[in-house]
Symmetry: C2
Subunit: 227 residues, 2 copies
């Protein structure tokens, strides 16, 4: 499903060069559940933005379902992001003027889902993350962990094949975290491919494969014992 070959992402700030990714190669098959772990600033979010077609590498290739994304037009990329990928952002990226429900509906609007159906699906996604009683709140009328859960609901409402979650439980108590972990587990069982960046050992333990990143490089990549 996913293949990165020798990916580099290099930022130039004045005479400082930051190698956010410094030669990353990685294959993720359909239906895998992989956790990405590593120190703060090691390149995890940068890698995930490239996986999610939200950013472009400076060097190397990224193939999605066998096709190099540098061959996609902008419209095709937008289509892939909208239909195939659900992205849960580390800092949520919710629209401040829209309610929780409207935020979750947004990707469904882009998919052309009719109003009644999309409101139902957005409603169900918010119920699934325990926010049934917060649908009409805007982000600044929600707690940190509630905003995080709206971001999760929004990523899942389109039922994407590939779920990319950047630290989805960073603001959640252990009970809410356990619910999100259970949810990711069920989605995996239903056939989705899941890549989670996490500092939470409970999530890493749920994954079948652990990819460790340090200083913009993969330093280990291990599948757990077969089950």
């Amino acid at each position: 499903m996913i293949e990165m070959r020798n990916i580099r992402k290099i930022y130039q700030l004045g005479d400082e060069e930051v190698r956010a990714l410094d030669g990353v190669s990685l294959r993720i098959e359909d239906h895998e559940f992989a956790a990405v772990i590593g120190p703060s600033g090691s390149g995890k979010s940068t890698m995930m933005h490239i996986l999610g077609c939200l950013d472009v590498a400076d060097e190397g290739e990224y193939l999605l379902d066998g096709r190099d994304i540098s061959d996609y037009t902008d419209d095709q990329l937008a289509e892939v992001r909208n239909r195939k990928i659900g992205f849960i952002f580390q800092q949520f990226n919710l629209l401040q003027k829209l309610s929780a429900l409207e935020n979750v509906e947004l990707p469904l609007i882009y998919q052309g889902v009719p109003r009644v159906e999309r409101q139902k699906r957005a409603h169900d996604a918010l119920e699934l993350v325990g926010l049934g009683d917060r649908m009409n709140h805007r982000p600044n009328q929600l707690s940190g962990g509630q905003q995080q859960r709206v971001a999760i609901a929004r990523a899942l409402a389109t039922k994407p094949e590939l779920i990319l979650a950047d630290e989805p439980t960073g603001n959640l108590d252990s009970h809410s975290s356990a619910e999100i972990i259970g949810l990711l587990h069920r989605l995996h069982e239903q056939g989705n491919t899941i890549v989670v960046i996490t500092h939470d050992n409970d999530i890493a333990e749920e994954a079948e494969r652990i990819i460790r990143i340090r200083d913009g490089r993969i330093v280990s990549d291990e599948r757990k014992g077969a089950s």
Copy 2:
């Protein structure tokens, strides 16, 4: 040092009433190290904003050093916030147009600290959280955990007596978290009063007192065995 009496904070959204805090009473003495834990949406950040004089309760009293803050003028409140309290926000609240160094200097500018000294102190605070090589980056040129550490450095640069930390390690790996926990521990030993909202058991274990919140109320408040 801090006393809350029967504090209520009630939001009205249309015909929905949200009791973010529903009768909270609490005393925190000088030099205590308290952890606040509880489910997502239970009222922790709301309580901390009132403690930090960033928000005002709808009912009840809040006394800081024996004085009711409703007696303070706006200027006096701003002075208290700037000189006495260091607040680490759950969502960082950094200024996007300023570099990490400039963000950390800001409270020192308000204190009238001369330029050479404030740059040194801001520099040192960023070194302390491991960001010596990221001083000139703006927030959108930093990782999530790096932004979180800038927020921590900014809160500590003024050497405040009272440190209020809202989930300071939510975006940090275990190594960076351990460093921040060690830092809070040292500040406590140096005589500061520390209140930390956290979902991280390692921080809660470091505290001498654990305050549990649920549905806007304190449900338990226990000091650990005397040491």
